[in-house]
Each structure stands twice: as structure tokens, then as C-alpha cells.
């Protein structure tokens, strides 16, 4: 829409101002790593973070979320609980912005999901362009998620002393104008931005040995590939890969009651298709009993099923699963091996 410039030194004021009216979240240091968390002091915001342990999707689909409260007396109807709060999320990387599109589709198609959508509508996303690869595990360039032109309210690019701010929505513009003293970009700012963007490109390796558009076709031919058996030998079925993935959204539902058994709540919690009992039905039959079948399902979802259903690939190349997998199972290696 339009390009603005904000001094880095003015960011703290911007954040502080926004904090007056919104819950502000963003990447914060967590030991040697980073996690999205509520910002209590603008100095905590680490826009220079490499990646976060969990993706920011947790602000739209929290790890555990109440769906409703109920009484067990049998007569009163349950009451829906939708806990949403006006939120501004700073520092979302482009891979995670791409991932949001998958979630948006999943929670809107067929049956719109108010729990997700209410939060989504009340949140503003402020993206940030990656100028360096976050680490050896990511492969965003290969997945076409190294940059993005929509899906954010504001998008920052680090230009040294200033951030270039690309406005992606009316709400973003209002936010910027209300809470910061950003100025419109000049011709030379734009040139500087373009230079930064073209300079970043060669810094990122292209790791996929095929064109990403061919990935769904590759996956659809790979159902019976022996790779699933090989990987299953070292996979721990720990579920980590699903839990940290920005495009995973499966969940389980639980009822909890208080000790006098009168009141309770029903909530949902993130689940993982890598876990042993994910596909077990009453009667004991488990439709993906083998680890190999579960691994295959996971990768099929990433490379084929989601794109068929939601028009976006289920892997955005953020590298979180590869980084945290103790068995060193990485999508990029899997895709490449299937390609061989």
C-alpha cells in the first residue's frame, strides 16, 4: 500500500505506545533461544531473533484453550468461551506469515471456527523481513516463503538505522500513524529497501533439488517409497515436529470437572499425528499403527494433502521440526531423497 520509515531509536516508543491500548507480543530471549511472549518492556522485544521455539500461531490457536463451560446438572446449556484480546504481534517472520494462510483456510473453510477467527480478527500482524538465514535448518527460499507481499498489517525491513515499514492493511496504517512518528518513505528510502532485498537473496541457499511446484506431484508418487520404513527406525514418535510446526493445527478435546462434579469445562489441546494413538478408534483398531505410516502421513500432509485442500503447501520451510528433531529428520532431506 505505502512505504514508511521509522527510526530504530523510535521503535521503543512505538511499542510502548501500542502497549497502552493493546496486548503486545513479540519474540523475547528464552535462555539461548527465543519465544513469542507478552512484551512488558519494549527493551525485551528482540526483532533480531533467529527463530522462535513455537510459531506465533499460539496466539490464534493456543496450546490449550477452553471451548465452553458447562454445568453437570443436565438442565442448563453449556456456554461458549471465546477468550480473545486485541493484540499486536511484532516480529513475525515471512515463513510464519505464509503459514498463517494455511491456518486461515483451515479454520475458515467449511465450518468457520469462531475461537480462531475471533482472535485472528482482533490481532494485527507486524512482519519482519529476514535478511540472513536463521540457521542451517531453515529452507524458506526453497519453499517460496523467503518473502511475502500480503498477509500482514505492517511489515518491517531492517535498513540499518531505520526500519522500512510496508503497510499491508488499513488497520496497519492506522496503527502506525496513531502510535508512531513514522514518516513516508522517500525515493531514496525505496532504493535502499530494494538494494537490501536484492542483496539478501543470494545469502539464502536453495536447498530443494526440485522446483517447489513439483513437490505435490512428487509426494503423490511417493506413497510406497521405502524411505518411510527407514525413517521410522530412527523416529522416536515424540510428536515434537508437529507441535512446533506453524501449519499444524490438529487437536484433541478434553472435559475437566471440579471436585464436586458440578461444573466443568471442555477444552482443546494441540495434538500430533505422530503419536501412537492419534488414529485409534473405539474397539482398538489403529489406522496408523506403524511409525512409518504416521511419518508418511505427516509428510503427505505437508507436501500434498494441505495444498490440495487449502491451496497452500503445509511446509513453509521454517526448519523448526528439523532443528528440534532428535533423530535429525528434516523435511528438506526427505523431499530431496524422495526426488532421487
Amino acid at each position: 500500500m505505502s512505504l514508511w520509515i521509522i527510526d530504530k531509536s523510535a521503535m521503543a516508543t512505538f511499542v510502548a505506545n501500542v502497549m497502552g491500548d493493546y496486548r503486545v507480543v513479540g519474540p523475547k530471549a528464552k535462555g539461548p533461544q527465543f519465544a513469542f511472549d507478552e512484551i512488558e518492556d519494549p527493551a525485551e522485544l528482540r526483532l533480531d531473533y533467529n527463530t522462535s521455539i513455537l510459531p506465533p500461531k499460539k496466539y490464534f490457536q493456543p496450546q490449550e484453550e477452553r471451548l465452553m463451560t458447562f454445568k453437570r446438572n443436565g438442565d442448563s446449556a453449556p456456554e461458549a468461551v471465546i477468550e480473545a484480546e486485541a493484540t499486536v504481534i511484532f516480529g513475525v517472520h515471512t515463513c510464519d506469515l505464509h503459514a498463517m494462510r494455511v491456518l486461515d483456510q483451515a479454520f475458515t473453510q467449511n465450518f468457520p471456527d469462531a475461537h480462531y477467527l475471533t482472535r485472528r480478527r482482533q490481532a494485527l500482524l507486524i512482519g519482519i523481513e529476514c535478511l540472513e538465514p536463521c540457521d542451517e535448518h531453515s529452507f524458506c527460499k526453497s519453499m517460496g516463503t523467503l518473502t511475502i507481499s500480503e498477509g500482514y498489517d505492517l511489515h518491517l525491513t531492517d535498513l540499518g538505522d531505520v526500519y522500512a515499514v510496508d503497510v499491508g492493511s488499513e488497520e496497519g496504517l492506522t496503527l502506525l500513524k496513531t502510535y508512531s512518528d513514522a514518516r513516508l518513505a522517500t525515493e531514496s528510502d525505496m532504493q535502499q529497501l530494494n538494494r537490501a532485498l536484492s542483496a539478501k537473496w543470494p545469502r539464502f541457499p536453495y536447498k530443494l533439488e526440485l522446483d517447489v511446484d513439483e513437490l505435490p506431484a512428487l509426494m503423490s508418487q511417493s506413497y510406497n517409497n521405502p524411505i518411510w520404513e527407514t525413517l521410522a527406525e530412527k523416529c522416536l514418535a515424540c510428536g515434537t515436529c508437529n507441535i512446533v510446526c506453524p501449519t499444524c493445527f490438529c487437536f484433541n478435546v478434553y472435559d475437566e470437572v471440579d471436585l464436586n462434579l458440578e461444573n466443568g469445562e471442555r477444552s482443546r489441546r494441540w495434538d500430533s499425528c505422530m503419536l501412537d494413538v492419534f488414529a485409534r478408534v473405539a474397539g482398538g483398531e489403529n489406522f496408523r499403527e506403524q511409525r512409518s505410516a504416521r511419518l508418511r502421513h505427516r509428510f503427505m500432509r505437508k507436501g500434498l494433502y494441505l495444498v490440495e485442500r487449502y491451496k497452500h503447501l503445509g511446509c513453509v520451510g521454517c526448519g523448526r521440526c528439523a532443528r528440534l528433531c532428535l533423530a535429525d529428520i528434516s523435511p528438506i532431506n526427505v523431499f530431496n531423497e524422495l526426488h532421487e
Binding site: 528464552k30 535462555g31 539461548p32 533461544q33 519465544a35 521455539i53 513455537l54 496450546q63 490449550e64 527406525e233 530412527k234 523416529c235 522416536l236 514418535a237 515424540c238 510428536g239 515434537t240 507441535i243 512446533v244 475437566e256 470437572v257 471440579d258 471436585l259 464436586n260 462434579l261 458440578e262 489441546r269 494441540w270 500430533s272 503419536l275 501412537d276 494413538v277 511409525r291 528440534l324 532428535l326 533423530a327
Partner: protein
């Protein structure tokens, strides 16, 4: 008093302990700090650690500790005969826990001699075993010690007439949900990938790798876990120690 899910009045509950540190019973007492209504929800008729009164008429028995002596078996069977529901409380009762470490030593005689010198033969202990090796157990509350929240959850499930379920997924799930920095990333080791969750990943959260006190998940990939631990720099001894700290019990040990 409202009726519970079974349509019956508050059930009578008794606590029993065998070889253990009684930390799980203590955790039950700790649960009262936040949930005093527990004493209204159930009627506690026996709890030697905390009370003198002693009722023999109970429907639910919580049993803490491992069976380490022949005479323990009789007591266990008596409890089983009386209780409609028997719940194993904590690692010692559930999987043998640290008690089973003695089973790994060269011989039980050697163990007794080491501690009691020439009076070793005053003892009648035998290899430690979980209570399920002796009696049928309806539900398990894993952990060393148990988790308060999980204890309360199992009580509620029983009151609702449900089969008490505990998580069958690994600690890594809870650990990741809490967004912890993985212990392996800090240069440590952890059994979280194959250990049953339900503790809210408390050890990794406090900077220490999982030691497996809650027992293994169903169908664990133990080979892969060992590869990961060796790669993280454990020696074979350290690996064996880690895998056995709470999971030393092996039914083969008690066949003799």
C-alpha cells in the same frame, strides 16, 4: 452432598503404603492446600501417615510403594479383596521405581551384606516389584512423586465412573507445549521422547532432563532413544544408568 456420576454417595477411600518414601502420600496432603474440598468429595477412612482412625470398609484403595517382601503380598491381596478399585500411587507401585535399583546389584545377598554386614540374613526381602506383579490394578498414577493435578484428575475420573486414563504420549509433547528450551540443546540428556507425559514436563522445565519416573509410553522406540543418548555423549554405563533409574524393574528379576 451432590451425587457423583455413579449415582452413589461419596466413596470411601483408603491409602496404603509399602516400600517407598511416602512422598506420594505427602503430595496428596499437599493437594489439600488448593483443593480442601477433596475431603468432602470422598470419605478418607484410612491414611496412616496423616490419621489415627482406621476404617476397613473402603471402595477405593490408593497403594503407594513397591512390594519387597513375601508378607507384603498378603496385605496386598487383602486390600484387593476389599477394594472395588485399586489405584497404584506413584512410581514405586506403578513400575517399581528406585526400589528396583537394588534388583540390578550383583545379588540381593550382596546388597543386604553391604548395608547390614554380618546380620544380613535377618532380612526376608526379595526383589522389588510393582504391585501389579502381585494383584490386579485398575488404574495407575505414575510419577516420583505423583503430580497433584493428575492425582485430582484421576480421583475425578473415578468419581465420574470413567476408566481413569493417563496420557499415553511422551513428555516431549508437554515440554514443547510449554515452549521449553530442549535439554539436548543445553548439552544435557533427557528421556522425554519415550517417557509417559502427565507431569507437565516439570524436570525439563526446571532444567533437568527427564529421568523416566513415569515409565515408558506404549510402543517406545527404545533403540532410537539409545542412539540419541549415545550421540549426546553418554558412555554406555551412563546410558544404562539413565535408562534404569526408575525403570530397572524387569519381570525376569523376580522369576528366580
Amino acid at each position: 452432598m451432590a451425587e457423583n456420576g455413579n449415582g452413589s454417595a461419596r466413596p470411601k477411600v483408603a491409602f496404603f503404603d509399602f516400600a517407598c518414601c511416602e512422598g506420594c502420600q505427602l503430595t496428596v496432603i499437599d493437594a489439600l492446600q488448593t483443593h480442601l474440598e477433596l475431603v468432602e468429595a470422598v470419605e478418607i477412612v484410612q491414611f496412616r501417615e496423616a490419621m489415627t482412625e482406621k476404617g476397613e470398609d473402603y471402595q477405593i484403595a490408593f497403594i503407594e510403594g513397591s512390594c519387597t517382601r513375601k508378607e507384603d503380598e498378603d496385605r496386598l491381596r487383602k486390600i484387593r479383596a476389599q477394594a472395588g478399585i485399586v489405584v497404584a500411587l506413584g512410581a514405586c507401585a506403578h513400575i517399581g521405581g528406585v526400589n528396583a535399583l537394588a534388583n540390578l546389584q550383583p545379588s540381593l545377598q550382596d546388597v543386604r551384606q553391604y548395608v547390614y554386614g554380618d546380620k544380613w540374613d535377618w532380612y526376608n526381602t526379595y526383589p522389588a516389584r510393582p504391585i501389579s506383579a502381585v494383584i490386579q490394578v485398575d488404574a495407575f498414577i505414575p510419577g516420583c512423586p505423583i503430580d497433584r493435578v493428575e492425582f485430582l484428575s484421576v480421583v475425578k475420573q473415578v468419581l465420574l465412573g470413567k476408566t481413569p486414563a493417563i496420557p499415553d504420549y511422551p513428555v516431549c509433547v508437554e515440554c514443547k507445549l510449554k515452549e521449553n528450551v530442549c535439554i539436548f540443546d543445553k548439552g544435557g540428556v533427557c528421556l522425554g521422547p519415550i517417557t509417559r507425559a502427565g507431569c507437565d514436563a516439570i524436570c525439563p522445565t526446571y532444567g533437568d532432563g527427564c529421568e523416566g519416573c513415569r515409565g515408558l509410553i506404549p510402543n517406545p522406540n527404545e533403540n532410537a532413544m539409545q542412539d540419541v543418548l549415545l550421540k549426546a555423549g553418554l558412555s554406555v554405563e551412563q546410558l544404562r544408568a539413565r535408562m534404569t533409574m526408575f525403570n530397572a524393574y524387569d519381570p525376569a528379576q523376580i522369576e528366580a
